[in-house]
């Protein structure tokens, strides 16, 4: 390709715009730009493809096996048989443990984040240790949380509660919904802390100063100015925690989940059935794989829908809060 001096072939009368266009036109095909943008596009497509394959496979195979009977039945006999099975106790158990977890993890996570951002001196050794601990907590394998829950909540807290309250009769010192929920709360704590910290840091320092300059105490400033503004961010943390916890099986394995229960969990000290664990049971314990497969697909679909529903509820609440904040605050 010939390179030309800008304007060389243009008559004197050509407008300045034409000259400019000529001047800035790329003269060489940029292979690496093309290659790299193509590569990023392909990578995105690949991930979307995997997601679509998983979802389609589950929806196509699971949809036909889902019925009102399926989601509203407590299985009495054989839950590997499509005619007698149902997932009501698993839906209730999973929803119950996620909600109890949220009730514990949000306050603890938010208070920790407030301490770290508003009170702790950033440079102090203690703050650094806490931050490192929070980050490490996020990296601990979930089965380790399960073992921690068994060792700490059940064998230590639960057994000692029983000694004091129930004359050593096993009430709290055994796997239970509360311990599974608390174990999940410990596991999702970093998610809530980090999300809350980010939203607290995003609040303009000018608002804090304005409040303090009016003679507000630090606590009044946090409660009346900072926290309301941070609420949507805190809720994002909650949504992430719920999504993470809903599908986790390992942490509840030793701390509360049951293979089979004839009734729904009614008390925090009850064990419970769980969708994730039930999927594991269906796929490994069935005497007749062909017969169980549709149930397995349907159960997976129910878990997806439940997680989706919990998320939607949280997102709707967050949208309302945001709207309110934007309108007046």
């Amino acid at each position: 390709m010939n390179t030309v001096t800008p304007g060389q072939y243009l008559p004197e009368s050509a407008s300045d715009t034409t000259r400019m266009t000529r001047h800035f036109r790329a003269e060489k095909f940029d292979f690496w730009s093309f290659f790299f943008s193509g590569l990023t596009g392909l990578a995105t497509l690949f991930i979307l493809g995997i997601l679509a394959t998983i979802l389609l496979n589950i929806i196509v195979n699971g949809w036909s096996a889902i019925s009102w009977h399926f989601v509203s039945t407590i299985p009495k006999k054989d839950f590997f048989d499509a005619n007698t099975t149902g997932v009501l106790p698993m839906i209730v158990g999973t929803a119950f443990r996620v909600i109890v977890m949220t009730i514990f993890v949000i306050p603890v996570g938010v208070i920790t984040a407030i301490y770290l951002t508003e009170y702790a001196a950033n440079t102090s050794v203690i703050t650094r240790i806490i931050r490192a601990a929070v980050n490490n907590l996020a990296g601990v394998p979930s089965i380790v949380f399960g073992l921690f829950g068994l060792g700490f909540f059940i064998n230590f807290v639960g057994k000692n509660l029983d000694k004091v309250l129930h004359n050593s009769r096993a009430v709290w010192g055994q796997p239970a919904l509360i311990w599974a929920s608390l174990t999940l709360a410990v596991m999702t704590l970093p998610v809530v802390i980090v999300a809350t910290e980010e939203s607290l840091k995003a609040i303009p320092p000018g608002l804090r100063e304005a409040s303090l300059a009016l003679g507000a105490t630090k606590l009044e400033t946090i409660l009346k100015i900072v926290l309301p503004q941070a609420l949507p961010g805190i809720m994002t943390g909650g949504i992430l925690a719920v999504s993470r916890a809903a599908g986790e099986v390992a942490p509840i394995l030793f701390t509360g989940v049951a293979y089979y229960m004839a009734s729904l969990p009614a008390h925090l000290s009850d064990q419970f059935m769980d969708l994730g664990y039930h999927i594991f049971v269906l796929s490994t314990q069935s005497p007749n794989i062909e017969q169980t497969r549709p149930i397995l697909y349907a159960t997976v679909l129910v878990l997806l829908l439940l997680t989706f529903a919990l998320n939607i509820v949280a997102i709707l609440i967050r949208a309302r809060v945001r709207k309110k904040l934007r309108a007046l605050g």
Binding site: L207, A210, A213, G215, A216, R326, G329
Partner: protein
């Protein structure tokens, strides 16, 4: 560029003579401030009279905002700050160990460079400080809020939308709302940290009018980069340079016949 005409320009000579007869209300005595090891304010002594507008001028980084923030102890919020010397307001040492910082900030209000209304309604912005300090009754709040919005020349513009968000106001209106919020709790002193630096000339003129109005009731200390502004609104001017107080005196004198060469260079625009 045409000067903005200010109708209520206070004749400086009368204010100064009046000021000289007053007893000092804010006494800054040999104040030094350190950020870690670096000395940001060097042995500053100043006496400011009651119900007088004092302007702090000087190039960026000269310490004028830092000194301003000493007066309501906003520097307490920064780690690693040490303050030597004494600051007395109304005869009380505000850095004494028994001083209630909350009470101090109630008496020494502040308006910031960047308008910072709370993301609440216009009404709630002014009500915030009042509620903090115990005003509960709706009728009291309503009356005081109207009074403050009138005093800050904002009432006519917002009286029909008190319950809409303060963030919907223009920059100048937001800053006047911040002034209304500050005067609502009836401080004795108002500190203003470049209150008009982000505003257009018309909004600036309104803020300046307002300052001249407010000085009838409040002692005002204003930090400004705008020489004309300092000349128009202040009775006394203090010129700072790299942490030192170079010159302090009647505004008319500082701008027309300064004693120091550095002051003259700065106010005439030769440096800074």
């Amino acid at each position: 560029m045409a000067e903005i005409s200010i109708p209520k320009l206070a004749p400086p000579t009368t204010s100064v003579s009046a000021a000289q007869t007053n007893t000092p209300f804010i006494e800054i005595e040999d104040v030094s401030l350190f950020y870690g090891a670096s000395k940001a304010l060097k042995n500053i002594s100043l006496k400011l009279e009651e119900k007088v507008v004092t302007a702090f001028i000087g190039p960026s980084g000269c310490g004028k905002s830092t000194l301003l923030r000493c007066l309501n102890r906003m520097n307490d919020l920064i780690d690693n700050v040490r303050i030597d010397g004494a600051i007395k307001i109304g005869g009380h040492d505000i850095y004494a160990s028994d001083v209630d910082v909350i009470e101090l900030r109630k008496r020494v209000g502040m308006v910031f460079q960047k308008s910072n209304p709370f993301p609440k309604t216009i009404y709630e912005n002014v009500a915030y400080g009042l509620r903090l300090h115990g005003m509960k009754a709706k009728s009291d709040l309503d009356a005081r809020i109207e009074e403050c919005l009138r005093a800050s020349a904002l009432w006519d513009e917002v009286k029909d939308r008190l319950n809409s968000s303060a963030l919907g106001l223009s920059g100048g209106q937001q800053q006047r709302l911040c002034i209304a919020r500050a005067i609502a709790i009836k401080p004795e002193v108002i500190l203003m940290d470049e209150p008009a630096s982000a505003l257009d000339p018309i909004a600036t003129a309104r803020i300046e009018d307002l300052i001249l109005e407010l000085k009838k009731e409040f002692t005002i200390v204003i930090v400004t980069h705008n020489m004309q502004q300092a000349a128009r609104i202040s009775d006394q001017t203090a010129f700072f340079y790299i942490g030192e107080l170079v010159e302090f005196g009647a505004t008319a004198k500082i701008f027309t016949n300064p004693a120091q060469k550095r002051t003259e260079d700065y106010v005439s625009g030769r440096f800074g």
